[in-house]
C-alpha cells in the first residue's frame, strides 16, 4: 500500500483511477441505503474517529451515519479548533487518539494541511472532511456522483459546462469540486467578483453571471464564507446578491435540463433569493442524500477487505 492509497485527503492525491472506482462503489452504497434496513456488517469491528476541530453538523452526521451503516464503531472528538489555546499541540491530540488504535480518522480542521500533519503522527487511515480553504474531497465526490447520476453520464463528465459561483478564494469546496470535475472532463468556470476569484488557479474565470447562466449544464452556487474574510471583498448591502445571487429573474434563465447545486448550508437572501425546492433543476437534496453513500464508499475503500459482503 502506498501512502496515497491509505488516505483520502485531496482529489489530486486520490487520482482519477481510484476516483472512478469510488464513484462506482458509491452507486452500490446508494442501493444499500434504499433497503428497508440500510445496514451491512462490512466494517464490523473497525473503529472510526470523527475528529472535528471546526464547527460542522452536516458533514459529521453524514460520516457518522456512513460508518454505522457499514457496522463500524465510531468515536467522536470535537473541539474549538485551536489546539494552541488549550496548550496542547495537534500532535499531542493525535498521539492520544492513536493510542486508542483507531482504524480511520475523519478530520475536519480550520487549517489547511492538518490531515497531512496528522498522517505523520499516527497509523490510521486519514479522511479529509475539510481542511481550511484547501480541500474537501468527499464533498467533491458527492458532487461528481450527483452530476453523473442526474445527467446519466456516470463518471464521464466530458464537455459538461460547470459554473461555480461565489466565494471561490475562500472555498475548499470550490477547489476540490473543480479538481474532480476537471479530472472527469467537465469545463469549469469560476464566477464572481475578482475579489473572490483566484487568478492563480488554472481555470476559466468570469465576472458576469448573466453572461453565462443560460449556457451552463451545472450551476453550482457557493456559500459566502463570511467567517473567513477580512477586508470585506464585496460592498455591504445587497450588491453581491444583485450581481451574483440566484434571483427569481436569473433562475428563469437557467436551462430546464441544467442542475442547480449548493454545498449547504445556504445563506438565504445572499447567494439565493429563490427557494431551490421549487426548482426542478435543484439537485441539492440529492447532494445530501448521496453524501452518506459517498462516505460509505470512502470508508469501505480504506478499511474494507475485498468485495462488499452482502448481509443476507
Amino acid at each position: 500500500m502506498t501512502a496515497a492509497r491509505r488516505h483520502v485527503r485531496s482529489i489530486d492525491e486520490v487520482g482519477r483511477e481510484r476516483i472512478i472506482k469510488l464513484l462506482a462503489l458509491t452507486g452500490h452504497m446508494h442501493e444499500i441505503n434504499q433497503r428497508p434496513v440500510p445496514k451491512v456488517p462490512a466494517l464490523r469491528g473497525r473503529v472510526v474517529c470523527n475528529l472535528f476541530l471546526e464547527d460542522s453538523t452536516r458533514t459529521r452526521l453524514s460520516f457518522d451515519t456512513a460508518a454505522k451503516r457499514l457496522g463500524a464503531d465510531t468515536v467522536a472528538f470535537t473541539g474549538s479548533g485551536s489546539s494552541l489555546s488549550k496548550g496542547e499541540s495537534l500532535r499531542d491530540t493525535v498521539e492520544t487518539l492513536a493510542a486508542m488504535r483507531l482504524d480511520a480518522i475523519v478530520v475536519r480542521h480550520r487549517s489547511a494541511g492538518a490531515p497531512w500533519q496528522i498522517a505523520q503522527w499516527c497509523e490510521a487511515a486519514i479522511v479529509n472532511a475539510g481542511d481550511g480553504r484547501h480541500a474537501h474531497p468527499t464533498q467533491a465526490l458527492l458532487d461528481a456522483y450527483t452530476i453523473g447520476r442526474r445527467t446519466g453520464r456516470g463518471a464521464d463528465l466530458s464537455g459538461l459546462r460547470v459554473a461555480i459561483v461565489g466565494d471561490i478564494v475562500n472555498s475548499r469546496v470550490a477547489r476540490s469540486t473543480t479538481a474532480i470535475a476537471s479530472m472527469l472532463g467537465a469545463e469549469v468556470t469560476h464566477v464572481g467578483p475578482s475579489t473572490l476569484l483566484d487568478p492563480r488557479l488554472d481555470v476559466q474565470r468570469c465576472t458576469d453571471l448573466d453572461q453565462i447562466i443560460g449556457d451552463v449544464d451545472v450551476l453550482y452556487m457557493l456559500r459566502m464564507q463570511n467567517e473567513r474574510m477580512d477586508a470585506a471583498p464585496v460592498p455591504p448591502g445587497g450588491e453581491y446578491t444583485r450581481r451574483f445571487g440566484l434571483t427569481p429573474e436569473r433562475a428563469a434563465n437557467i436551462r430546464t435540463d441544467a442542475l442547480l447545486m449548493h454545498p449547504g448550508p445556504i445563506n438565504h437572501g445572499t447567494e439565493m433569493t429563490v427557494d431551490p425546492s421549487t426548482m426542478p433543476q435543484s439537485a441539492i437534496t440529492d447532494q445530501v442524500s448521496y453524501g452518506v453513500a459517498v462516505r460509505m464508499a470512502v470508508l469501505f475503500d480504506l478499511l474494507g477487505t475485498g468485495e462488499m459482503e452482502e448481509e443476507s
Partner: protein
C-alpha cells in the same frame, strides 16, 4: 573574554598554513595571537609553545557577524538561551551576533539590554550585542529611550517581528535617531496585507488554500522607508529582503546615494515556497519563502552588493510549537550553524565577497567594525574563523547546539563548514566542536 574574569583562558595561538581572506583579498599567511590580539602576520611563522591550529588547505577569515539573531532570552528559554544560541553562533563561525529585541520583556530599556549583554559575556562564546526596539514594547507608538540605550552600547534598533506600521512614527524615529550614532533596521511588512498569512501569495499558496503573504506587503514598506530616508537624511537597514522588487528598490536607492543597507537570509536564497507542499511548519517563516525568480534576484543582489550582508534570522522554536497546524505555528527557522554552508552552495562568487557579506559588511552595519570583521594586521582583535571550504555535509538536527531543531536544511547538501572559531583570542570552536572552558 578578559574583562569577564576569564583572562586566564586566553590562548596563545598560531594559525599555520592557511589562506587568509580579508578586505585586501586572499593570500597565504600564518597568524600569531597573544592576549586576545593578532600580534604577527607573515607568510611563515616559527612556532614556540603556543597552541597550533593547522589550517593547511583551509581558509582563515575574520569572524562572522550576524545582524539578525533571535536568542529568545529573556522569555522563551525552552526555545533557546543566550548560552545555547551564542554557542550555535560560534559553531557557525560567528564572533558577534546582534540579538533581536522581541524578547519578553522587550529589549526596550537599559535594564533588559544590559541583562542580555551580561548573559552574553558570561556565556563567552561570542560577542552578544543586544539591539533595542524602536518603540516601547514593539507596539509601534512611543519611541524607546534611544539615546540612553545608545549610551550603554546599543547600535541597532528595530521592532523586528513586525515593522513600524505608522508612517509618522517611523519618520520621527528616523529623525530622532539621525542625531545619534545608531542605525534603525526595519522588518518590512505592511500588516494589513498579511493578516493570518502563512506563506508567499503565489501559485502554490492558491492550490494549498493557505492564506497568502503578498510580496507587495514587503515592497510597500521598503519603498516607504527609502522615501523616509530621502526625506530625513537618516539611514535605515532593511532586514531579510525576500522579493525581486525589493532588491530593485534598494538598488535604485543606492544609486541615488541614499544611506540604505540591506540583508538577506540563507533560506531566502535557497528554498522556495514549494517546500510548504508537505504542510510542514518548519518551512513557515516571516517573510515567507518565495519563488525561484525571487531567489535569483536576491542572489544577484548579494553578488552585486545591492544587498550588503547575509544575516541568519536564526529563530528557534520548540518542536511542539512547530507541530501545529500551519496557521497556528510560529514563523521562523534555525540558521546560525548552517549559514556558511547554505550561502556557499547558493552563491557563485569569490570567497572574499562571500566572507565580506558574512563578516566585515555586517560588522559595519552593526556598528561593531572596531572589533569585528577586521583585516589580518598586527594589533587587531583576534576574532577569527577557520573554514574548510570544500567540505560537503548534511545537517543532523539533533546534533545542533541550538535548543530547538527547526532547521529547514535537513535534505540539502551544504558546501563548506567552520572548523575553528577564535573569539577574543580564545579557541571557542575546535575541529567543529564547541570547547568548554
Amino acid at each position: 573574554m578578559t574583562d569577564a574574569g576569564c583572562g586566564a583562558v586566553v590562548d596563545d595561538i598560531v594559525i599555520t598554513g592557511g589562506t587568509l581572506v580579508d578586505q585586501s583579498g586572499s593570500r597565504r599567511g600564518d597568524v600569531r595571537i597573544r592576549d586576545g590580539r593578532i600580534v604577527e602576520v607573515a607568510e611563515s611563522l616559527t612556532v614556540g609553545d603556543e597552541r597550533v591550529i593547522d589550517a593547511a588547505g583551509l581558509l582563515v577569515t575574520p569572524g562572522f557577524v550576524d545582524l539578525h539573531t533571535h536568542l529568545r532570552e529573556p522569555g522563551m528559554p525552552e526555545a533557546e538561551t543566550i548560552e545555547s544560541g551564542s554557542r550555535a553562533a560560534a559553531l557557525g563561525g560567528y564572533t558577534a551576533v546582534v540579538a533581536m529585541p522581541n524578547t519578553d520583556p522587550t529589549q526596550d530599556s537599559v535594564e533588559v539590554v544590559e541583562w542580555v549583554a551580561a548573559r552574553g559575556r558570561a556565556a563567552g562564546w561570542c560577542d552578544v550585542y543586544p539591539s533595542g526596539s524602536i518603540t516601547i514594547g514593539r507596539a509601534g507608538r512611543e519611541l524607546t529611550p534611544i539615546a540612553d540605550l545608545a549610551a550603554v552600547g546599543v547600535r541597532l534598533f528595530t521592532d523586528d517581528g513586525s515593522g513600524v506600521q505608522d508612517d509618522a512614527v517611523m519618520r520621527r524615529a528616523l529623525e530622532y535617531a539621525g542625531d545619534l550614532d545608531v542605525r534603525l533596521a526595519q522588518h518590512c511588512e505592511v500588516a494589513t496585507l498579511t493578516r493570518g498569512a502563512v506563506m508567499h501569495e503565489g501559485h502554490c499558496c492558491s492550490t494549498l488554500g493557505l492564506p497568502g503573504w503578498p510580496a507587495l506587503a514587503e515592497e510597500l514598506m521598503v519603498h516607504r522607508d527609502i522615501e523616509l530616508v530621502r526625506l530625513t537624511g537618516s539611514s535605515v537597514h532593511l532586514l531579510h529582503l525576500s522579493t525581486a522588487r525589493s532588491v530593485e528598490l534598494v538598488r535604485e536607492a543606492k544609486a541615488d546615494g541614499l544611506a540604505v543597507t540591506a540583508e538577506a537570509t540563507p533560506h531566502h536564497i535557497s528554498l522556495t515556497d514549494e517546500r510548504l507542499r508537505g504542510f510542514d511548519a518548519v518551512f513557515k517563516v516571516n517573510p515567507p519563502l518565495r519563488t525561484m525568480a525571487d531567489i535569483e534576484a536576491v542572489r544577484d543582489g548579494l553578488i552585486d552588493g545591492t544587498i550588503d550582508a547575509i544575516a541568519t534570522d536564526h529563530a528557534p522554536h520548540p518542536r511542539h510549537h512547530k507541530e501545529r497546524p500551519l496557521e497556528e505555528a510560529p514563523p521562523g527557522m534555525l540558521g546560525l550553524e548552517t549559514a556558511l554552508g547554505v550561502a556557499r552552495a547558493s552563491l557563485e562568487c569569490s570567497w572574499e565577497h562571500l566572507v565580506g557579506a558574512l563578516s566585515w559588511r555586517p560588522a559595519a552595519i552593526a556598528g561593531v567594525a572596531d572589533r569585528h570583521g577586521r583585516p589580518f594586521i598586527a594589533g587587531e582583535p583576534a576574532n577569527i574563523c577557520v573554514i574548510d571550504p570544500d567540505l560537503q555535509w548534511r545537517v543532523d538536527p539533533a546534533a545542533l547546539a541550538s535548543r530547538s531543531t527547526n532547521t529547514p536544511f535537513i535534505d540539502i547538501d551544504l558546501t563548506g563548514r567552520v572548523r575553528h572559531t577564535v573569539h577574543d583570542g580564545r579557541v571557542v570552536v575546535a575541529d567543529g566542536s564547541a570547547v568548554t572552558r
